[in-house]
């Protein structure tokens, strides 16, 4: 069973979101997603300052197998993109919930309630299995 931290929120498209408590959110992909994709070899992140809509494709992760779109879980402004991933995309495989985060948004954290909690995401994984 893949690792699902309780404090995070999740999307059906396998992103996770962390509420940083200061009006900003951190976004990454789940352990399940990195495992299914295989070794990542390239990550393309959104530019800082870009306004993204909820569910908008705004990043791409490419594994040895294929390229996959990453969707912004919420509407907001991109305030940071993980600078370490250009040189070391495998960080996403190694630490999907930690150093392998993708980007940060300034967004309304109230909207987080609409996303899945860990149990809800676990159920979608079971349904897909």
């Amino acid at each position: 069973m893949s690792n699902l931290p309780e404090e995070l929120r999740y999307t059906k498209s396998h992103e996770w979101v962390k509420d940083n408590g200061d009006g900003t959110l951190t976004v990454g992909i789940t352990d399940h997603a990195q495992d299914a994709l295989g070794d990542l070899v390239y990550v393309e992140l959104p530019e800082v300052g870009r306004q993204v809509g909820a569910g908008e494709a705004c990043a791409v992760v490419e594994s040895v197998k294929a390229a996959s779109d990453i969707y912004s879980p919420l509407a907001g402004e991109v305030i940071e993109a993980n600078p370490g991933l250009a040189e070391a995309p495998e960080t996403v495989n190694q630490a999907p919930y930690g150093e392998g985060w993708l980007f940060k948004l300034r967004a309304d954290a109230a909207a987080l309630g609409a996303l899945l909690d860990a149990d809800g995401y676990a159920k979608t994984l079971e349904e897909d299995a």
């Binding site: 070794d39 070899v41 390239y42 791409v60 490419e62 294929a66 390229a67 495998e90």
Partner: protein
């Protein structure tokens, strides 16, 4: 319904991610495809390639039949055990499959063909065999393991039957030794030294376990693909198929034009295409901008559409994205334009044309 090799339970036990490939359930990787790739370049990796299909060709006219059937010439195989890579062509010169053929005796050969194409290959071979005194036999009783890497031969030798054990130390590249029902060949699909071993299916698990215990790292089809791509080797169905000829697929070197009297299937069509200035070229690609090359991306010469990526991916050895591509010839009288680009997600990304292979025997063969 997919087939399973005799090693399927081993793959499951080792935690492989299993994918369907050519009608077979095969391991994609056992954890990290990139680490498996490096193991083959640096030490030794072990592949289950039992989806590959051996076909024995026997009879007084076996050689004459193969000289008719194949674009390369088995008359080059002067001694027992020698092997040859060839395309199997239709009358239009289209590639039905690519294969390795081993000479096992004066009237006995073995071809090893691709999994997905085996059924149509055998139908084609039977149809071509008509007037020849030959018999064809599928060897579905055999499994096939590939042990590849700089340490592969030394590591595998003690695990082989006695006669093969003595022979592999001196075995020349592209040669094989037969030992009972085993055929041990110094061939592969990785650009490294190593062996491909055909053996009875019920002996495959014991050999697999012995090789793993000796230090060969289990590797899946994912690493097999990046290794062959770095080695500049084509993949059937991706880099060439029935709609393309060997001359448009970087495989002109496998067509034996001499002797001119040998009338192999597809010869006339290839001879005509050989003189055609509009014939497409086959090249290697090194992505110099960001992203990853993938099959079917479009290529542009000076902004004009001029070809397509046939295979693309990330090269773990070079740390860069590489590919193979089929491109239009240079415009008549025009100078070669240096600025090639590939379209990735709607953007033009610079790419450099290079001559494969990219990597051989653990070393880069191109300027980074």
């Amino acid at each position: 319904m997919t087939s399973k090799t005799p090693l399927f339970a081993e793959h499951q036990r080792l935690g492989a991610r299993i994918v369907p490939f050519g009608g077979w359930d095969m391991p994609l990787h056992y954890g990290s495809q990139i680490e498996e790739h490096h193991a083959v370049r640096r030490a030794a990796g072990l592949f289950d390639v039992s989806h590959m299909r051996p076909v024995d060709i026997e009879g007084p006219q076996a050689e004459a039949f193969l000289r008719h059937l194949l674009a390369n010439d088995v008359a080059k195989l002067k001694t027992q055990g020698k092997a040859l890579y060839s395309c199997l062509l239709d009358e239009r010169g289209g590639v039905i499959d690519d294969l390795i053929v081993y000479r096992l005796g004066a009237e006995r050969y073995r071809a090893v063909v691709n999994a997905a194409t085996a059924d149509k290959d055998i139908v084609w071979m039977q149809a071509q065999a008509g007037a020849f005194a030959v018999s064809l036999a599928r060897r579905d009783d055999l499994a096939m393991l590939a042990v590849q890497g700089p340490q592969a031969r030394a590591l595998a030798a003690p695990r082989l039957p006695v006669a093969a054990r003595a022979a592999v130390a001196d075995l020349a590249p592209f040669s094989a030794v037969e030992d009972g029902a085993w055929l041990v060949a110094r061939t592969g699909y990785t650009g490294e030294d190593g062996l491909e071993i055909m053996l009875p299916g019920d002996e495959a698990v014991a050999l697999w376990q012995a090789l793993v215990a000796a230090g060969a790292r289990p590797c899946g089809l994912g690493a097999r693909d990046t290794l062959r791509l770095e080695a500049g080797m084509n993949l059937y169905g991706q880099d060439m198929d029935e709609t393309t000829t060997p001359l448009e697929s970087g495989l002109g070197w496998t067509v034996a034009w001499e002797p001119a009297t040998r009338a192999f299937v597809g010869r006339e069509a290839l001879a005509a295409q050989r003189e055609d200035p509009a014939r497409r070229r086959f090249v290697g690609l090194l992505l110099t901008g960001p992203g990853v090359l993938r099959a079917h991306q479009s290529l542009y010469r000076g902004g004009t559409p001029a070809g397509e990526v046939t295979s693309g991916g990330f090269s773990p050895t070079l740390g860069r994205s590489i590919g193979l591509a089929r491109i239009a010839p240079e415009p008549a009288g025009g100078a070669e334009v240096a600025d090639w680009t590939v379209e990735i997600r709607g953007r033009q990304v610079p790419v450099r044309l290079v001559r494969p292979p990219f990597v051989r025997h653990g070393r880069a063969c191109i300027e980074p």
